[in-house]
Symmetry: C2
Subunit: 435 residues, 2 copies
């Protein structure tokens, strides 16, 4: 992250409620190389209602490690989330660890027991004895139903150190955890802090560098936006795919906050225009699908250096078959000539990585599939294959339409996977801008 | 993770040295929805030399949050790694936080300063004043060179609470951090604990369910493997892609450990045979590339439900163009008929998702590209498109060779992305087994 980007973070901390929030993730697999996404999900969801997480702790399936982490977290936090360890087996220990630290009993809950039994009955299975454990709930906890699995979530409030603290126990599998956060925790927290209104919107940007985005919007994000205790702040988050610009408003006057966000958004759109491709949960692939379907435009794709990743992204959107006719991965010159009808002469004269070849690939795939648009990529993804004149990262993306074909040059850095990803995003962005 | 899988974890903790290791990741972006992979990398690398991480803590760019986390970690840990916050700007605070907690001075290091200046000079830039900060090193620390960026890493040892503790400060960007861990930290730790030898090997398995793997190898992993204080343990890690089986040996007799690992490996290979596709850092795509190149076999791929992801995986391997001729993403019936020469009659009679269509796609792509093998996928990735007879997750993978075509049925669960990934892995696994 550049220093410019980091600078923006100072704005965000100021606006959040003065609360310390900790997430504890449990699971030995998380400490042996598995990538965890649960914490990122909760962070993002809490951010969306203006709450920020201060600390994430990951521990293995050890009762003492979980207890120590939970005890320490409870001491310093206003809100503690635990994720994982609510399963039925002997090494699902979060429930016991939390109960122990809180000096609370685990109480048998008939209703939960019936739900777990029903879960097995629906699948034509008898309920294993080990699952009995899951019907024991920490005294005083509100149960959150698990629609997918057997582990119920729990929501508790406890007086500790003179403060009222919120404790949330969530199951580890994202499919079980995510709905509890979205359908139970978020509405509840939103209501809890309703005298304090929080609003957030994220704008997604691609086709510009981080510094270019910053230069364009500097005036907007550096101006103080405060009205009668209502405050608006900005955060930039950059990845190799895109740049997210998050606006977070916090205060007590919803109408005023809406107006402030609306005004700031207008100023940002005025400066960034079509560099903004979507908002909040919208993905680039979805935006393209929407435009294509609305305009009734069909597409075919010819990929060389991207090797199929563009087609894969496009088909990640359900219903993409409505506009996406066909994709070709034409890695070899032979495939480019035979299938896409790129002329041998072009390949000889300009090489496979050239605007000319990219253009003929795009036109070729468009003709072959009889689509409105042909999109093509060719480049050097590395690590080998680069020369002084055509280094690793040199890429051409071409778009062919009825009225002609354009090719654009890019020079990307990074490893092979980075370059593939960057080209795919650049190509889809170019497509979006040229439809 | 199933309970069977979890059961295996009990073996692993027993063998590790009695050490508590904490990783502290810093960066506000990690608490606003970004996925962190630094901690997983370090966990995995330490695992490879038989060390296990007990706790990972993530905090934002706040000096008090970093100091508190570091102080607490140092209290309970034998080894503390910090990741991130070594950059030049005012919110890169790890260096200061650690120095403050250790009550150590930051000392100007002329050699580091020269290296930073050289970094900028090589790029034809003058060194910004803010980078001066990076030349200040915590008193007594060993400097780890940064070959990619300007932030030097640091390695310290300190007496605390009557114990000698290791403290490692690493930069956040993986490209800068990873070489320091691999080239400096691992050899150093390996040497440090050389009277205690640790050996690890990971076997990669696909094409079997986790429980099937467990049933096959139960006897091996449940037998105690201890010889004169040398101990061997097993861990299973399952994902939707593959199953990893890790053997970790720990003791003081290298020859004995090698023999124990060799014996256990032989027993596992005997039971799992070709279900094991590779070891340690080998990927499925690489293994396929190796086989294909060795046997001089060429491949073409026709993808329907996988939408390009198989071609993308294949072309992730540098040099894949040697055997991979061409890929087709034939989503629509029209594309299947026109390009791949699937007969209209087959599509009408059996439907697009059928062994017949899969087979004709595979044979069609093989003929079209004149390759030794044609690989094809067709299925219902969802969320829509499923019927009672052909539900979401029903998939056919076909392989066409000179001597005939075979199609195999799969029924996968999960969301659209899960199903796409599972089909891609199943197809590549089927390819591997049928070459």
């Amino acid at each position: 992250m550049s220093s410019k980007n980091r600078l923006l973070f100072k704005y965000i901390s100021a606006i959040y409620l003065n609360m310390f929030i900790t997430i504890i993730c449990t699971g030995t697999e998380l400490l042996t190389g598995s990538i965890n996404t649960d914490d990122a999900f909760i962070c993002e969801k809490l951010n969306s209602i203006g709450l920020s997480v201060n600390r994430v702790i990951t521990v293995g399936d050890s009762i003492s490690d979980i207890k120590n982490a939970f005890r320490e977290a409870l001491n310093v936090s206003d809100m503690v989330f635990t994720v994982g360890g609510l399963g039925p087996t002997f090494d699902d220990l979060t429930r016991d660890a939390v109960a122990d630290v809180l000096q609370a009993r685990l109480v048998f809950n008939r209703e939960v027991m019936h739900k777990i039994a029903a879960y097995f009955a629906q699948r034509g299975l008898s309920m294993p004895e080990v699952n009995d454990r899951q019907a024991y709930i920490i005294e005083g906890a509100v149960v959150m139903d698990n629609k997918i699995g057997t582990a119920p979530g729990m929501f508790l409030e406890r007086e500790a150190g003179g403060h009222r603290k919120i404790i949330v126990l969530l199951p580890g599998p994202p499919r079980e955890m995510n709905p509890m956060v979205e359908n139970f925790i978020l509405p509840l927290l939103r209501k809890r802090f309703e005298n304090r209104i929080m609003k957030a919107v994220t704008l997604h940007i691609c086709g510009l560098t981080e510094s270019a985005v910053f230069e364009k919007i500097r005036e907007v994000v550096e101006s103080e936006r405060k009205m009668e205790g209502n405050l608006l702040s900005f955060t930039i988050l950059a990845s190799i795919k895109k740049i997210d610009l998050r606006l977070t408003g916090s205060g007590d006057d919803e109408l005023l906050l809406d107006n402030m966000i609306h005004k700031a958004k207008s100023e940002l759109y005025e400066r960034l225009k079509e560099d903004i491709y979507g908002e909040d949960s919208e993905t680039l692939e979805e935006i393209i699908a929407k435009i294509m379907c609305k305009k009734k435009i069909t597409l075919s794709v010819a990929e060389s250096c991207t090797g199929g990743i563009i087609s894969s992204m496009i088909t990640d959107v359900p219903g993409s078959s409505l506009y996406f006719r066909q994709g070709f991965v034409a890695y070899s010159n032979e495939a480019k000539i035979k299938t896409l009808k790129v002329s041998e002469n072009t390949l000889k004269k300009y090489g496979a990585v050239s605007p000319e070849t990219a253009g003929e690939m795009a036109a070729g795939v468009r003709n072959l599939c009889e689509t409105d648009i042909g999109l093509a990529t060719t480049g050097i993804a590395g690590p080998a294959g680069g020369t002084e004149k055509k280094p690793v990262g040199l890429v051409f993306v071409a778009i062919s339409k009825e009225n002609g074909t354009v090719a654009k040059q890019f020079n990307f850095g990074g490893n092979r996977a980075d370059i593939k990803t960057k080209v795919a995003w650049a190509a889809l962005d170019m497509l979006r801008r040229n439809v």
